[in-house]
């Protein structure tokens, strides 16, 4: 068993840098982006920037792309950005989906549980204004009407690269 892992590990090598695993290699800017991001995080947030994700009615595609940010190819963690299990450990709240009535309280409580300083970031069209579900009887409305949102990442869903790029832009300003 361990042999097969070793074999595959050696065969694959370090995908994050080689980038030949996928058909179209990532644009070179991802490395630069990441290095720049790392510096910003280092100076402003003391080495790391931790994000807690909350789904308030998303279809799951945004989640899938956020998870992809941590795969060995994009490996957002190497730049000091990480997704954490508890709002208590988080610097930012990443919200996906239109806000369903059922999730409104959970969203507020998650935000309240975070230590200061804290930021709210929305991800995907639905979270911006309810998207295609905005006229529904069960959608409360945009996340920004409930919490102070500082950044929106557009897309349906935004690709991992879009997410990484948007986070960089935000960290550069803040």
């Amino acid at each position: 068993m361990s042999l097969s892992i070793l074999k595959n590990s050696l065969k694959k090598g370090k995908v994050t840098i080689k980038l030949d695993f996928v058909r179209s290699a990532l644009p070179p800017e991802i490395e630069e982006l990441g290095q720049e991001l790392k510096k910003t995080i280092h100076t402003k947030f003391g080495r790391s920037f931790h994000i807690r994700e909350v789904d308030t009615g998303s279809c799951g595609a945004c989640e899938s792309e956020i998870i992809a940010c941590s795969n060995p190819l994009y490996d957002i963690q190497r730049f000091g950005i990480d997704f954490v299990a508890s709002p208590r450990h988080a610097d930012a709240l990443l919200v996906t989906g239109p806000v369903s009535k059922n999730m409104e309280l959970a969203l507020k409580k998650t935000y309240e549980a975070m230590p200061e300083p804290k930021f709210v970031i929305t991800c995907g069209h639905c979270a911006l204004d309810g998207g295609i579900f905005k006229d529904s009887y069960y959608v409360v409305g945009a996340v920004k009407e409930i919490l102070p949102v500082i950044l929106h990442i557009p897309g349906c869903p935004p690709s991992p690269l879009t997410i990484i790029r948007a986070l960089l832009g935000f960290l550069r300003q803040s």
């Binding site: 058909r23 060995p72 059922n102 409104e104 998207g131 529904s136 959608v139």
Partner: protein, 527 residues
């Protein structure tokens, strides 16, 4: 004997009065019976056809004919037909006899009908609401009625939901969610445990309810298609395909062979990336991180391939009513061949890693067992059903273009996490073969992609075996081509109950593993 006679005979044998029996399409049979006979008729068909309740839904027809219509849908595998048993409920009666006492798989549907239409399933032991949570939604506001207007904001104070409770010495409850530790949908799990083993698990869902069925009403098919792609992000293609099938049936369109091939090609790509995701997820949930990361790269490779083919990593915007929008030419076909050759090698390596690890197999073997008997009673669908021994795959029942491909239906009988993993491994291999043969056939196929038809009203069911199981979409269009009523059933709606039975006797730390092996959709269930 044709289908209608067969069904007529079954019902006639118990002297059930048939008001109307019509074969609307070759594979859809509608039978209307008296309200007094409805339970008996459903019970009889449930037994004789050996089918669980596939769908059970209501429709508000008070404007046209002063009634609510209730449809209970069974599947006749032998004759490849859907059987819709309908009863009409007078608009002032507002109740019907519950099926749930005899047919468990009807239970959740009845609760849904009750909260959405205000029709009381008399005799259903569980009347709690599923999607409209008591805390935020007052009673007596039924969203799917045609005359629904939203509740008044200030009058409602909020009520509370009562969980099932296990009591006794040393028994404790562990509530989890709706916000979880991982990056995942929202759901609440309440475990009752004594020491390590789980004695009861109650799953409360509905957190991501967006009122999709109501939002769809009044939409034309193009707008609706965009919504269908956002019902469950990981099944975006499966949903859009099921919806298109339903509409094409209504309009009487036989879509070009090339489009049919392209559709199953995309459907199999969707199956591949999701199976890769889950195989990795199962490894991750036992802390076996190398194969988990390895699998995430396989998934990423397929998502990037998808983007290269149609500009969307989740295959959105491919389907359209009457065919597909995007062709796959020889260049793209080459891309697929190249990418999938690598993917195939990686899948084999992944499988070897997982199945040759004794400690991994020890964790998945005999964990989260869902027995055949339980699975049948609950009406478990798709992948999870096949792992427990229910040999049902809609690609075999309603093959369509799949007729041209020989593939083996995966089936296991142990019903544990390992079985669900093995099903995925075997389906991956079949999918890769199907895609390859599909590309060969595309070469010799005429370039026509799309058909258009006259606008027409009517109703029909679309059914697609997506990666998780059958996605069912029933649509009624009015003569202007707008949606009057749409009922969507995700396999997750049946299968969440299966999870709560599969975990019994397992330890709470194994719950994530069991959960991932089912990998059910929150948003597809909640709608």
């Amino acid at each position: 004997m044709n289908h209608s006679d067969y069904v007529g005979n079954i019902l006639g044998s118990e002297k059930i009065n048939i008001i109307d029996l019509s074969e609307i399409y070759q594979d859809e049979l509608y039978v209307i019976v008296d309200s007094t006979d409805f339970v008996k008729a459903c019970h009889l068909l449930h037994k004789r056809l050996d089918s669980s309740v596939m769908m059970f839904f209501a429709e508000d027809l008070r404007q046209e004919s002063q009634i609510f219509a209730l449809y209970c849908v069974f599947l006749n595998v032998q004759s490849h037909t859907w059987l819709f048993v309908r009863q009409n409920i007078a608009q002032d009666k507002l109740k019907f006899d519950s099926l749930a006492k005899d047919i468990y798989s009807a239970s959740l549907f009845e609760r849904e009908i009750r909260e959405m239409f205000g029709l009381e399933p008399v005799g259903n032991p569980d009347m709690r609401r599923l999607k409209l949570h008591d805390e935020v939604w007052p009673k007596e506001y039924y969203p799917l009625r045609k005359d629904f207007t939203g509740p008044k904001e200030d009058s409602f104070k909020g009520a509370s939901y009562v969980f099932k409770r296990v009591e006794g010495e040393g028994i404790f409850e562990v509530p989890v969610g709706p916000v979880h530790a991982g990056i995942i949908g929202s759901g609440h799990f309440r475990f009752s445990a004594a020491g390590e083993p789980i004695i009861n698990l109650e799953i409360r869902l509905g957190w991501t309810h967006r009122g999709i069925e109501k939002v769809l009403e009044g939409k034309d098919t193009n707008d609706a298609l965009r919504i269908f792609e956002c019902i469950s992000g990981d099944t975006a293609f499966g949903y859009s395909m099921a919806f298109c099938q339903a509409i094409e049936k209504i309009l009487g369109l036989n879509i070009p062979v090339r489009s049919q091939l392209l559709r199953i090609l995309c459907l199999e790509l969707e199956r591949l990336y999701n199976h890769a995701n889950d195989m990795g997820g199962i490894a991750l949930d036992v802390g076996f991180s190398f194969p988990a990361q390895f699998a995430s790269l396989i998934k990423e490779a397929i998502l990037q391939l998808n983007e290269g083919l149609c500009g969307s990593r989740y295959l959105k915007g491919v389907n359209t009513v009457g065919g597909v929008k995007q062709d796959i030419d020889r260049v793209k076909s080459g891309l697929i061949m190249g990418a999938l050759a690598k993917v195939k090698k990686d899948f084999i390596a992944l499988e070897e890693m997982l199945f040759s690890s004794i400690s991994f197999m020890d964790r998945v073997d005999a964990t989260g067992v869902l027995r055949l008997r339980t699975a049948r009673d609950l009406g478990i669908m798709g992948l999870a059903g096949r792992a427990s021994g229910i040999a049902l795959d809609m690609r075999k029942v309603f093959p369509g273009i799949y007729n041209n491909f020989s593939f083996k239906m995966a089936k296991e009988h142990t019903g544990d996490v390992a079985a669900r993993l093995k099903i995925r491994c075997s389906e991956v291999k079949e999918s890769l073969n199907i895609i390859q043969h599909c590309l060969e056939k595309l070469d010799a196929c005429s370039p026509e992609l799309k058909m258009t038809g006259e606008e027409k009203g009517g109703f029909a069911l679309g059914c697609v075996e997506a990666w998780r199981g059958p996605v069912l979409v029933w649509v009624r269009l009015n003569t202007k081509g707008k949606i009057e009523r749409c009922k969507i059933v995700d396999p997750s709606f049946h299968n969440w109950d299966g999870l709560s039975f599969a975990v019994l006797g397992n330890i709470i730390p194994d719950f994530p593993l069991c959960n991932k092996s089912f990998d059910l959709s929150y948003s597809g269930n909640d709608l």
